[in-house]
């Protein structure tokens, strides 16, 4: 086997691994975003974040940070439930638990909810044993972005290597030397 051969294989394997990483679902975990509500309620201070910003129809991340109302220390043990009610279709309300596993920032609890366009009333309830708190707010969700517009970087990036090649052809006027 030639000297270059193992490295060619290594490069191929590395490239395959790199491609696998690149194609892995990015941003699968909910995280942060824009603050929608931040207030004290009962025993807790509850802060609610949403993303993307602006909100568009489709999967929306809702993240909740629960702190002790008095000390502002992060509360580790708490159950959080999120209820989202579309104003135009109140019968289609969704009620889901928020979990730490769904959040990138492990201080938060998060949930992904599929939302349709329009106004939604949101209630976030936190409770554990005798302690509880809740916060309500409204949010407007815009019309969905088409795949064509949201995926544009994926099908337009070839312009870059084409432009580089064109530049290379302009620059490479001198005879090629081996490197």
């Amino acid at each position: 086997m030639s000297r270059a051969a193992p490295y060619s294989h290594a490069i191929s394997l590395a490239a395959a691994g790199i491609l696998a990483v690149a194609l892995s679902p990015a941003g699968a975990l909910a995280d942060g975003g824009v603050v929608r509500a931040m207030r004290s309620s009962g025993d807790y201070q509850i802060s609610v974040f949403t993303s993307p910003n602006p909100l568009v129809a489709g999967p929306v991340d809702l993240s909740v940070l629960v702190q002790d109302a008095a000390t502002l220390a992060t509360v580790a043990e708490v159950d959080v439930e999120v209820a989202v009610t579309p104003r135009e279709r109140p019968y289609a309300a969704a009620r889901l638990p928020a979990t730490r596993e769904a959040a990138t920032n492990k201080l938060f609890l998060a949930v992904w909810i599929d939302l349709e366009p329009g106004w939604h009333d949101v209630e976030v309830r936190c409770h554990r044993s005798e302690r509880s708190g809740s916060v309500r707010f409204a949010m407007q969700v815009g019309s969905p972005r088409s795949d064509t517009s949201s995926l544009w970087p994926w099908y337009t990036w070839p312009v870059v290597p084409v432009a580089l090649f064109a530049m290379h052809r302009v620059l490479a006027r001198s005879p090629r030397r081996r490197l």
């Binding site: 086997m1 030639s2 000297r3 270059a4 051969a5 193992p6 490295y7 060619s8 294989h9 290594a10 490069i11 191929s12 590395a14 691994g17 790199i18 491609l19 990483v21 690149a22 194609l23 892995s24 679902p25 990015a26 941003g27 975990l29 995280d31 942060g32 603050v35 931040m38 201070q45 802060s47 910003n53 940070l65 702190q67 502002l72 992060t74 580790a76 990138t104 920032n105 492990k106 201080l107 795949d147 064509t148 995926l151 994926w154 099908y155 990036w157 070839p158 290597p161 084409v162 580089l164 090649f165 290379h168 052809r169 620059l171 490479a172 001198s174 090629r176 030397r177 081996r178 490197l179």
Partner: protein, 783 residues
Amino acid sequence: MNSLDAFLRSWPREPALVVCLLLSAVIYARGWRVLHHRDPKRWNAGRPAAFWAGLATIGLALASPIETFADLLLQIHMLQHMLLLLLAPPLIWLGAPLMPMVRGLPKPIRTAWAAPTLRSSLARRVFGWVTHPAVAWPLFVAVMWLWHTPRGYELALDDPRWHLAEHASFTLAALCFWYPVVRPYPSRPRWSRWILLPYLILADVQNTVLSAWLTFASEPIYAHYTEVPRLGGWSALDDQQAAGVLMWVPGSIAFLVPVFWIGLKMLYGQQQPAREPALPVERPATSLPVISLAGCGATCTASPEQRRQHAFGGDLLRAPIVGRFLRWRGGRPSLQLLMLVLAGLLILDGLLGPPAGPANLAGVAPWIHWRGLVVLGLLVGGNFFCMACPFTLPRKLASRWLPQGRQWPRWLRNKWLAVALLAVFLWSYEAFSLWDCPWLTAWIALGYFAGAFVVDGLFRGSAFCKYVCPIGQFNFAGAMISPLEVKVRNASVCSTCHTRECIRGSKTAAGCGMELFQPQKRGNLDCTFCLDCVQACPHDNVGVFAGLGRGEFSDLDAFRSGLGRLARRKDLAVLVVLLVFGAFANAGGMIAPVVAWQDKLAERLGEVPLIVPVSIYYVLALVAAPFVLLGTATILSRWGGQIAGSPASVSARFAFALVPLGFSMWLAHHGFHLFTSYGTIVPVAQRMSMDFGLDTFGDPQWQHACCAEVAPWIVKFEILSLDFGLLASLMLAYRVAAAEGGTAGRVVRAFAPWGLLVVGLFAIGVWIVLEPMEMRGTLPMGG
């Protein structure tokens, strides 16, 4: 769970960044190994350590919990900025990355891209300008201050795209700033090192001013941090003051330590021992010298053939387990036997099983799994499915039972028959809804067995594979982009061989039935990967090699064993055009707008059966469109590029350039069905086993046969496939145009019509993958 514990577990997902960093590290490592071999003293282990530490620092800043918490705490965000501005860039430059990165690139990219760019006087002038202290310093300061103004900071926090722009500009400006300080080899600046003292001191002064502004402000400067919940008892103002101190103290250290170091070196001076340059270096006009990386090491004295071999990488036949299996005489037959068993089960279930496609092995396995695995196999390896083809297994039996000995008729020794059969195959798939017709699929499989049996029984060689089999033609054309190729190990051994068993056969092994004489074989066209040549060669001189730029598409006028000159093979050109346009037609026939168009056409034609509009669609897609588009491109190309060749030969040359794009469309389409519906085999297998009286696998889990949600990554995979197909086809079309000769202008004019055609097909492909596609082979919702 406390905050620290939560911090340590809050890792964001940044696959694109991780990919870039890993790729950079791998390329650097590859280049450093070669340079270290030549000059261990200059390229010691400290270089890669510094470079990788720089990459790791970028990863730490942007792909660790620091990124997750940066939006909540200004001091964490400031730490992120310090890593990008003050730590990562000097570490990267300490690795002297220019030569290892260039050397680590694959040779075609290095010689065709990197070298001309490095030699370019414009590139050198621009680089010298941005890294000159008089430019780098204000650039660095401007970027720092711009993004630390309230408006700039809030913009980056509110919009991820501006955040990306902020980090990119920090990194680039910092790389320009630190370049003159570190002076990585092989830079040779024209200015005195004394300039770096005020350079760094003034940088520290501006850092101090900025830090002091943050530290001593009486109220929070950035409104964002007053609107987010406070963590760890930090108020927004305390957090800002901590950020200011972080910027001040470590920031000052980062600037002042080099000042002391440089000052000491210049005051006490060190006579550097004269060092023989490991490589010839031209005296530069700017700070970026022209470098020659000539020196091909041990392969310099090797013959061109040996160098070509080295360039081809490892031999799969020498790999530990796989190589042994492939060299084993029973290797291929065992694969064929396995496929024969599967084919038998498929035929059985197709003829006797339930008529619904999703519930039948013949409705699921060939149209979802086999098609998807074929294209994936071609992409990552080679023509393994021809290797494992069960249809040719009865070949030996056929040769005993039938009067074999005839030559395949001369007038049929071309691909026209295969082209016709392939066109019929593509049309009939849609016209007769083969995916939903297991009975018909089973009969097609039986027809294949019968056809292969009769043809190979009556005619010598592998006439069925070479001149008849439509599936084989698809595999041959697809294998043109495969990384593996069967070829000789050492051409000089072949030049002394007179017995030529590789094609004539030996007492114990048949020679190549596809008439491919190994020393003159070039590329994968017509190669079934049967490895008969490997078994027959008495010198063990045939292997399976990997490598880039094998010359599959180059020099279409060169003679190729078993094929002749590709530029003169109109039948082969028509075959590839059929496969390319067939890819788009086949995928397009399953999307809603095309289906709706066919329904409307059927209505307009007076409620005719669906076979009529489907046939019209295929005539348009496989005959009219290629004829018009290729014809137009040929006319314009010949006229603009003043190409002397006949229209047919010009068309034929450029047609081969379309192969990568066509293959990428097949990959996108078949990959889609495989990745969304691979689970359909489970309930079918369970149902079949129960039909045979075995309940080992339990009751059929029909939920796996239902429509699965299309994961977002699948669409991205499809588009990415098309992207690479586009780039490869554009490159090949340009090379064909360049091979016609002439001035740069004529080359561009010759290339332009084909380039537009390729881009147009690419756009159609993207449109197809973004439209909802029929989930064939799956049960409807609730089914």
